[in-house]
Amino acid sequence: MQTYKLTVNGQTREVTGDPGTPLLWVLREDLKMTGTKYGCGISACGACTVHLAGVATRSCVVPVSLVGDRPIMTIEGVGEDRVGRAVQDAWVAEDVVQCGYCQSGQIMSAVALLKSRRKPTDEDIEESMGGNICRCGTYVRIRKAIKTAAQQLA
């Protein structure tokens, strides 16, 4: 058992647990932040995506012991960010979601893309979003919403 100080969405939180516990489960069960989702546990689907020091990170495979002092941003906090807000608004405007379970991760990946590329091309979108699974298949509207968000941010 170890204690870790985590900075999540600007707030410092303390958790105690097994060092090997993935950050995903620390967020969901210790901090009761369930916006970040469990889809596969093997970094195959992206539903668990958070930002660690600004880098999109799959929290299901990162043990809490390796987080260090890197600030964590989750779906619950990304709306405070200008790019995050634009992406969420675009997602709503384009009526992207179906079941919605993958969308926290899709949004976090899209935000990472848009923070890095102001006008992402179709190829940029395919590469950056290429590792996020949407089982319902909302990819057509995800593409559109990313472009809508890019326009809003321009």
Binding site: G20, P63, L66, A112, L113, D124, G131
Partner: protein, 211 residues
């Protein structure tokens, strides 16, 4: 041979002449010794290179020295899953960087390997062809010793790379897979890799001829 920078006169000139002649003859005999040493070292160097090559082409190393838009993974060196791509700097793309999953140390509880600055070797350091076939010993050696391709490393630089680079060190402590089994290791230990690299560098980094 070390000369002291002392001034000299008359009789010293003779001394210097004799000393020079002695030096010259010592030099040529040393040269001869070195030439003799060089030819045995060249064989030893080539043998050492083969050992180095055997490590470089192990999955733990070659999986990131690809010629393609993607890394490989596993002992069977299949294309890395989940559509990860090289990206402009070999670090993936925004949203899907190497660092999206690979942290600065192995995550044995989840089966994801890690080391500082996890990324792909540049395309200039590819050791496979675009069909994922491993290049020959000669080709890899050529590439490794080409300073326009290897990040401007000379022999000592390559040795240092093998001694200290975190991703190289990682290959010898590659952590556990998600099923709990240990990843397979290169055929040499790290110390052995460093030793054979040193031998090879000392031998002037000889490369085998094309087979």
């Amino acid at each position: 041979m070390v000369y002291s920078g002392t001034a000299f006169r008359g009789s010293s000139a003779v001394f210097i002449l004799i000393a020079s002649l002695a030096w010259l003859s010592a030099l040529s005999s040393a040269q001869g010794t070195r030439q003799q040493a060089a030819s045995t070292t060249r064989e030893a160097g080539l043998a050492a290179w083969q050992q180095v090559y055997s490590v470089l082409t192990t999955p733990r190393c070659i999986n990131c020295h690809t010629a393609t838009n993607y890394p490989e993974q596993g002992d069977d060196r299949h294309r890395h899953l989940f559509n990860v791509v090289r990206g402009p700097e070999g670090k993936g793309v925004p949203g899907l960087n190497c660092a999206t999953c690979h942290q600065s140390a192995n995550a044995d509880s989840t089966g994801v390997p890690g080391a500082n600055n996890w990324h792909l070797a540049p395309l200039s350091m590819k050791w496979q062809d675009t069909n994922d076939n491993i290049l020959s010993s000669a080709a890899v050696c050529q590439s490794l010793t080409d300073r326009s391709k290897n990040g401007s490393l000379d022999g000592p630089g390559i040795l240092r790379h093998h001694e200290q680079e975190p991703l190289v060190l990682w290959a010898f402590q590659p952590g556990r897979r998600r099923d709990g089994t240990a990843r397979s290791l290169p055929p040499l230990t790290h110390e052995q890799l460093v030793a054979v690299t040193r031998t090879w560098v000392d031998a002037g980094m000889p490369c085998p001829q094309n087979p």
